[in-house]
């Protein structure tokens, strides 16, 4: 009875793991398409998400490898991409903040606004051209891969799930 449950658990885990890998690949391709459509390569800093995508693709290949070290390396690379994603959100917010004086609605009053107001307008894209939460897609994809790496696999200890 217990063995049947274990086998069902492993089958479910394998299904979820494959689903997470599939979502990761879809996330990488969709992000690349989105970046290409907005021509996100006009300066060095705009190349960061492209590098992050390459790192994520490498991490996915490593995660798909059957050996444990590959999965650990994939997890670490995913964490790196998560960091790049957080940096992207911050950077987009700063770009919007610096664009405040260029907006005709705030050109004369930007400096007189409170810092909290200015940052709020920047974060909510009330001013500026940068979509603040868009870099979050990189983080989301990285988290999906991280979760896939944490899923139990049937490779260790026979049919018993491991870490």
């Amino acid at each position: 009875m217990t063995e049947i449950r274990n086998q069902r658990g492993l089958a479910s885990a394998a299904l979820v793991r494959r689903g997470l890998y599939a979502l990761t690949v879809i996330g990488i391709l969709a992000t690349a398409f989105e970046l290409a459509t907005v021509r996100h390569w006009l300066d060095i800093e705009q190349l960061i998400p492209w590098v992050a995508l390459v790192v994520l693709a490498i991490a996915t290949v490593l995660a798909l490898a059957s050996f444990r070290q590959g999965r650990i390396a994939a997890g670490l690379l995913a964490l790196l991409v998560l960091g790049a994603s957080v940096y992207g959100v911050i950077d987009h917010t700063v770009v919007n903040y610096n664009s405040g004086p260029l907006d005709q609605r705030f050109a004369d009053t930007w400096e007189s606004l409170s810092p909290a107001n200015r940052w709020w307008y920047a974060f909510t894209k009330t001013v500026g051209p940068a979509p603040t939460l868009a870099p979050g897609i990189l983080g989301e994809t990285a988290v999906l891969l991280l979760l896939a790496c944490l899923m139990p696999t049937p490779t260790a200890a026979g049919n018993q799930p491991s870490a």
Partner: protein, 126 residues
């Protein structure tokens, strides 16, 4: 049992992450929306060009950032250095578009207003 609990946790986290990502994705198209809403017209651009000083124009494609900033200052654009940076960033501009449509579309993302865009374009040639 522990395995099942872990599996459930991972599923829940995945759903939450996807939901958050869905909210974030909605902001990506706002830039083009703003661009469309404040897109300048051809007639006003021609008027601005007509009022600009002849000889003060610099090439948006080849002039240095400082030269562009000087030209923008000369026609009364505030934050000229910052706008010059944007002009350089969105290069190249089509040589067969004296109205600088590409530049106008990109500047519109900042919501600078019709007058400012016209002033900027009046100081530039492709």
């Amino acid at each position: 049992m522990i395995c099942k609990a872990k599996l459930s946790l991972i599923c829940v986290v995945t759903v939450v992450v996807l939901a958050v990502a869905g909210c974030g994705g909605s902001t990506t198209t706002n830039g083009s929306g703003a661009s469309a809403s404040s897109s300048p017209t051809t007639s006003s651009a021609a008027a601005a060009t007509a009022t600009s000083q002849p000889g003060a124009k610099v090439s948006a494609n080849t002039a240095s950032e400082s030269d562009i900033a000087s030209a923008l200052s000369a026609v009364g654009v505030s934050n000229a250095e910052r706008w010059a940076k944007e002009v350089v960033e969105y290069r190249p501009y089509p040589a067969d578009d004296p109205n600088m449509t590409k530049l106008r579309d990109n500047l519109a993302k900042y919501n600078p207003g019709q007058e400012t865009v016209d002033k900027i374009v009046s100081a530039l040639t492709p």
